[in-house]
């Protein structure tokens, strides 16, 4: 990854003040990202989603974000007010969420929502906007873009809904896409097809991608680098290709506890190794 870095995060903390005391969701996360695919992997509660949201300043009170440095393409995101953030969010950095069902507006047609994403971030005529939106639907391999353009979100399948979300997020041509479990709700084959679309668009446009997921084996085969998080800290960052050589006991534990098609079996096969958590992991981190 010799490219200049697009995003730099240094010592990011996210705290939530709750009646039961302070919850430290993210505790000192640092990483930098070029125009590459970075996978962020962790179990529930590891702080991976909150990290993604914190970059876009989408953490609401009582959540509190602080960092030594949070810079995107030379812009200091911490110094940006809401007005300045609006020129970054969507246009420069956009985010795909997990569930198209809850992220799409149910009372607006698909076309109107994609068109809105385009027109908010640039001047364009109505005809031009529609043409771009249809092109974008075609780019995410929707076979019948005219029909889908006029459809409401409840009229499309989950896989198509996620493609629509991707179309909407990519139409302003952002430099960085944060995808938070974009395909976890989908069937395996549809999941891979959606990832292939994302992969092609990211490499064609030279974008950076932060891919947040709980699926270690999927991330290993899809991303360039993998960052493994546990308890709000980064345990390890490694090349996806060399994930099998990962050294950290947490990464090893996660890899080992996956059932495999080749091994195991109900008779004769051994039990799955159970992950033993070491409290020291919460103190060290990377």
């Amino acid at each position: 990854m010799s490219q200049q870095s697009l995003l730099e995060v240094e010592d990011l903390h996210v705290d939530f003040a709750t009646p039961k005391g302070l919850v430290q969701a993210v505790r000192g996360v640092s990483f930098s990202l070029g125009r590459e695919k970075l996978g962020v992997v962790g179990e529930s509660g590891s702080g991976k989603s909150v990290t993604g949201r914190a970059i876009l300043k989408l953490v609401r009170p009582p959540g509190h974000v602080r960092a030594k440095r949070l810079a995107f393409d030379g812009i200091d995101l911490q110094g940006c007010d809401e007005r300045a953030m609006r020129t970054v969010r969507g246009k420069r950095i956009s985010m795909v969420m997990q569930e198209p069902k809850f992220s799409l507006n149910p009372v607006m047609t698909v076309g109107a929502q994609i068109a809105e994403a385009y027109r908010v971030h640039g001047q364009a005529s109505a005809a031009d906007t529609k043409r771009r939106a249809l092109e974008m639907l075609q780019a995410v391999r929707i076979r019948d873009p005219e029909r889908v353009y006029a459809a409401y979100p409840h009229e499309v399948s989950g896989g198509m809904g996620q493609r629509i979300m991707i179309a909407m997020m990519l139409i302003p041509n952002p430099d960085l896409l944060i995808a938070d479990e974009p395909t976890s709700a989908l069937d395996v084959t549809v999941q891979l097809q959606v990832l292939a679309i994302l992969d092609d668009l990211v490499s064609q446009r030279g974008m950076g991608l932060i891919f947040i997921s709980h699926d270690l084996s999927l991330v290993a085969s899809f991303c360039d680098r993998v960052m493994i998080m546990y308890g709000g800290r980064v345990m390890e960052v490694c090349d996806a290709k060399h994930l099998n050589e990962a050294r950290h006991p947490y990464t090893r534990g996660l890899l080992n506890c996956l059932p495999r098609i080749e091994a195991g079996g109900p008779d004769g096969g051994a039990d799955l190794p159970v992950l033993r958590r070491d409290p020291a992991w919460l103190e060290q981190g990377l």
Binding site: E43, S44, T189, V190, L192, P259, I261, D271, P273
Partner: protein, 261 residues
């Protein structure tokens, strides 16, 4: 142990009817683990719901331990056949303690000795007695799924129907629950029908599996055949390829099996 012949399930009537399950047949021997695999909408859960008596709208023939099943099931059936659901967050009553959740099946079946049975069931699933008077929201997802397994096992059934029992759990917790299910099966001589979209989980748990697509079984195969990557039906092959991770070149060769049913 379990015989399903020509099972069909239709929702709705006339032109709007949805054929969720089309003439599915399979047989599970006593003590065997059988997997039902498919993507969403393939009908795998509908088969399980018809088998468990949750959906009375089915045609065909089903039998458990040689006894033909009717539309309505009696208490003796539920003593033999129990189910564990996918989502441990919604399958436990939020305002009942674990003790009360586990006491209910004992009361319904008038088994008596509730105190002893509850303590034993909790121990069998690896939960200590300190969990007994807690509420579900005080437990983690994995602990809740252990409670769901305890609730199913408290009647000492012969057959456990498992509907995606670990897909809502983190992988490390999934490993613990799968190990638990395998241990209980050996200890108590249970027969499992496991529904899952995850081929690795089925390969780990079962000896044979049926692959479903659009309501029909496209292929039945042994786990050895799966492991040798030797399925014959193109749909199974594609599912297997997809389960092995992201491979950009392979994805372009994916076909849409939904179109031609």
């Amino acid at each position: 142990m379990i015989d399903v012949d020509d099972l069909s399930v239709t929702f709705g009537h006339g032109p709007a009817a949805v054929h969720a399950v089309r003439r599915v047949s399979f047989h599970v021997a006593n003590g065997e683990s059988f997997g039902l695999v498919g993507e969403s909408g393939s009908g795998k859960s509908t088969v399980l719901r018809a088998l468990s008596g949750l959906n009375p709208n089915w045609r065909g023939h089903m039998a458990v331990t040689g006894q033909a099943l009717g539309r309505r099931r009696d208490k003796a059936f539920y003593k033999q056949v129990q189910m564990v659901f996918q989502d441990p967050y919604s399958s436990l009553h939020p305002r009942h303690t674990i003790d009360r959740i586990l006491a209910e099946p004992i009361a319904i079946h008038r088994l008596g000795e509730a105190d002893r049975r509850i303590a034993e069931a909790l121990e069998a699933v690896g939960l200590g007695s300190q969990f007994r008077y807690r509420y579900p929201h005080q437990l983690s997802g994995g602990q809740r799924q252990r409670v769901a397994v305890a609730r199913a096992l408290i009647l000492e059934p012969k057959v456990l129907l498992l509907d995606e029992p670990t897909s809502a759990l983190d992988v490390s917790v999934q490993a613990e629950v799968l190990n638990l299910l395998r241990r209980l099966k050996t200890e108590q001589g249970l027969t499992y029908v496991l529904v899952s979209h995850n081929l690795s989980v089925v390969a780990h748990m079962c000896t044979r599996l049926a692959v479903m697509n659009h309501g029909a079984v496209v292929e039945e195969l042994t786990v050895e055949q799966l492991r040798a990557r030797a399925p014959t039906h193109p749909y199974t092959k594609q599912l297997l390829t997809a389960s092995l991770g992201y491979d950009r070149a392979a994805i372009d060769r994916f076909e849409d099996f939904a179109a031609n049913g």
